[in-house]
């Protein structure tokens, strides 16, 4: 492996290993509490905007596609595809932000705005965990968008941007996508609608 994998790439995979454990903890907490409070958590899922969530998932999957294309493209297209990827990430954040805004408006954004349709404590716990986990995900996505744009800027300024750096950006981006792939059914699908 020593001669076939750049050190930077191995470093990114090791970093992603730590991130897997990082996200798993809160997801496990969510899962445990879903088991303890199935009624309240299903109720919580019913108060999520399925359309927004589905569109957002499609947006992020598309951004993974454009990122993968960017890394496999000629220099002429690389830059454009990277900007497109960052743009799609931003679209995700806008949709997410609007969801947060709607929840606040409807009194379901604890602790800022809490006048919920039902008063069970576990209903609040659903939303707390939703904001905490998706908030951390959005933070990671924002950092990703920043890094992608920074790399694009460096390329535009004709500074050196190594192949490994771009591959690592790709790995990070796809990882953030994978986290969302799991968050989506947890918050929007399971137990809610049928």
């Amino acid at each position: 492996m020593k001669n076939r994998v750049p050190a930077g790439l191995l470093g990114m995979w090791v970093f992603l290993a730590s991130e897997v454990l990082f996200f798993s903890t809160l997801i496990l907490a969510f899962w445990v509490y879903r088991h303890e409070w199935p009624v309240e958590f299903s109720d919580g899922v019913r108060h999520m905007d399925l359309i927004a969530g589905s569109v957002n998932t499609a947006v992020l999957l598309t951004s993974s596609w454009t990122m993968a294309l960017a890394l496999a493209s000629s220099p002429r297209w690389k830059g454009r595809l990277l900007v497109l990827t960052a743009f799609l990430g931003a679209v995700f954040l806008v949709i997410k932000g609007s969801e947060y805004f709607m929840h606040a408006r409807d009194g379901m954004l604890p602790p800022i705005s809490w006048s919920p349709p039902q008063s069970a404590p576990a209903f609040k716990l659903f939303f707390i965990l939703y904001f905490l986990i998706t908030g951390l995900h959005a933070l990671h996505l924002s950092i990703g968008i920043g890094c992608v744009l920074w790399a694009r800027l460096r390329m535009a300024l004709r500074r050196e941007v190594s192949e490994t750096l771009l591959e690592n950006l790709g790995l990070y981006w796809h990882f953030v996508d994978i986290v969302w792939i799991f968050l989506f059914p947890l918050f929007y699908l399971i137990g809610g609608h049928a």
Binding site: M1, K2, F15, A17, T25, A29, W37, P121
Partner: protein
């Protein structure tokens, strides 16, 4: 004459902006020594307080803050970084024949994060302290404690990121920067132990970070994640906390075991018996150590089935640990043993770690743990391993590699005396605590029954000798920097690539490529000139 890595010595920029793993190792060493003194001050308050059985010397409130400070500082700002960030940083590249770690700048960032975290937590401790115990159990920490919990915990989170980056650096370096011919099965056992430690650093620390973060949010916003009245489960905090904190104790001991392997090989002048088994047992401990955490929760309300599973798994980890102890002893057999200070420390480790480890089995047995949990028996158990084991390994390693790091020799006779004083002082301090625990003295209580007074007095008296055992090396090692005899490249005629370069090494570590031996610990061959 090539300059050593220590040139320029008094240029602060060359220290604070260095990316040289050797200088970063020294930066860590200086800072953890400072934090050790802070943690020891906490211990001094504890042992002083316990001279009275009625909290008449130290108030209960101050006592709570003292044991919390002692635990927080010693665990996160001394033990976790100790051997990996000091000896590990310094030696890993040298031992594999590399010029530095894979990510030197990340290494410096690790140190700065460590300092930032330490400053934040120390601020919390000095402006008023924390009284929750180093384990920050909910709901006390989230709902009832009036102390600086958020601040202290934030510092620990920041220091945690330092750990993760160090572990990442070590893993990539071990894979990528081994010199040509330095295969995995020729690596020094210290390197194997650092690799296993790094696995834990990378995989366990994130869980701690997010758990402590959730604790802060809970405390600030009462979201209910650990509050039963709001739907939460305080036991979940314990699961998450111990998922990190149990493997964390292996972060603390594995590097020590690695050092002991090196010391015993060098001072018995024999290859370590059962090299492969020791290498594999390090990995086994690193991996298996993740499955045991619930043994901290036997009486917390955990299900009986989970407790049984954790109990059996906790017994299992004795196997790789015992393999090491047996192999170290076997290495001594028919060796040419020299009882210099590093060897005394190593032998002390073997004895004290064995006692500490065996007492772990007492605690792993469910029925016995019901009586021993949260007593001084537990405290004695982990101090035997952490202080009797890890700290002695650290001192042994520091002495062994002192000439390599500083280019100076330390006074041998004085060092031997210091090691013996430390060993005796340690036993006087901590052995009575097994008895105290067995007789029911709870931990974290400022008061205790009067008939336990004399055992507490013995324990507290022992700390004076223990302190002398620490003070002596501090004094003579520092003095040797000025007045110690200059060291040759290989003053102990040891094996290992680090001994093939100058003492101290040049910045690039090796002026000419080191000679890779045909097998590890080639004490049967002459050292390459």
């Amino acid at each position: 004459m090539t300059k050593s890595y220590l040139t320029p010595l008094w240029d602060w920029k060359a220290w604070l902006f260095t990316t040289d793993h050797k200088r970063i190792g020294i930066l860590y060493a200086l800072t953890i020594t400072l934090f050790f003194i802070v943690g020891a001050a906490g211990a001094a308050i504890i042992r002083f307080a316990l001279l009275s059985s009625h909290a008449s010397l130290v108030s209960a409130e101050l006592y709570n803050k003292a044991f919390t400070a002692h635990g927080v500082v010693m665990v996160w700002f001394f033990l976790i970084p100790s051997i990996p960030a000091t000896l590990g940083n310094f030696l890993l590249p040298l031992m594999i024949g590399a010029d530095d770690l894979s990510f030197p700048r990340l290494n410096l960032l690790s140190w700065y994060l460590f300092i930032a975290g330490a400053l934040i937590t120390l601020t919390a401790l000095f402006i008023g302290g924390v009284d929750t115990g180093w384990t920050f159990y909910t709901p006390y920490s989230t709902m009832f404690s009036n102390s600086y919990v958020e601040l202290a915990v934030t510092g620990v989170i920041v220091a945690g990121f330092s750990s993760i980056l160090t572990g990442l650096n070590f893993i990539v370096t071990t894979h990528m920067k081994r010199a040509e011919g330095m295969t995995w099965m020729k690596l020094p056992l210290f390197v194997w132990s650092l690799y296993a430690t790094s696995l834990i650093l990378v995989l366990a620390t994130p869980v701690l970070a997010i758990t402590l973060f959730a604790l802060i949010i809970e405390r600030a916003f009462h979201i209910g994640i650990f509050d039963p009245s709001l739907g939460g489960d305080p036991l979940l905090f314990q699961h998450f906390f111990w998922f990190y904190s149990h493997p964390a104790v292996y972060i603390m001991i594995l590097p020590g075991m690695g050092v002991v392997s090196e010391l015993i090989a060098a001072y018995a002048r024999r290859p370590v018996f059962g090299y492969k088994m020791i290498a594999y047992s390090s990995m086994a401990i690193g991996i298996l150590g993740f499955f045991l955490w619930g043994h901290h929760m036997f009486v917390a309300g955990q299900s009986a089935y989970a407790s049984m599973a954790f109990s059996i798994l906790s017994f299992l980890i004795g196997i790789p640990s015992a393999i090491k102890v047996f192999n170290w002893v076997a290495t001594l057999y028919k060796g040419e043993i020299t009882l210099d200070a590093p060897m005394l420390y190593a032998l002390g480790f073997v004895g004290l770690f064995t006692v500490g480890g065996l007492t772990g089995f007492f605690l792993a047995a469910l029925a016995v743990d019901v009586h021993l949990h949260d007593t001084f028996f537990v405290i004695a158990h982990f101090h035997f391993i952490m202080v009797g084991g890890m700290l002695m390994a650290y001192l042994g390693g520091l002495h062994f590699w002192w000439p390599k790091i500083t280019g100076r020799l330390y006074p041998k006779r004085l060092a031997r005396w210091a090691a013996v004083i430390l060993f005796v002082g340690f036993n006087i301090t901590f052995f009575p605590q097994f008895i105290l625990g067995y007789m029911g003295m709870p931990r974290r209580y400022a008061e205790y029954p009067d008939h336990l007074l004399w055992l507490n007095w013995i324990s507290s008296a022992g700390t004076l000798l223990l302190a002398l055992g620490y003070l002596l090396p501090l004094v003579y090692l520092v003095r040797s920097l000025k007045s110690g005899s200059p060291a040759t490249d290989n003053p102990w005629d040891a094996r290992g690539l680090e001994w093939q370069t100058t003492s101290p090494p040049p910045k690039e570590n090796f002026l000419k490529p080191p000679v890779i031996p045909s097998h590890p610990y080639p004490y049967d061959q002459k050292a390459p000139s």
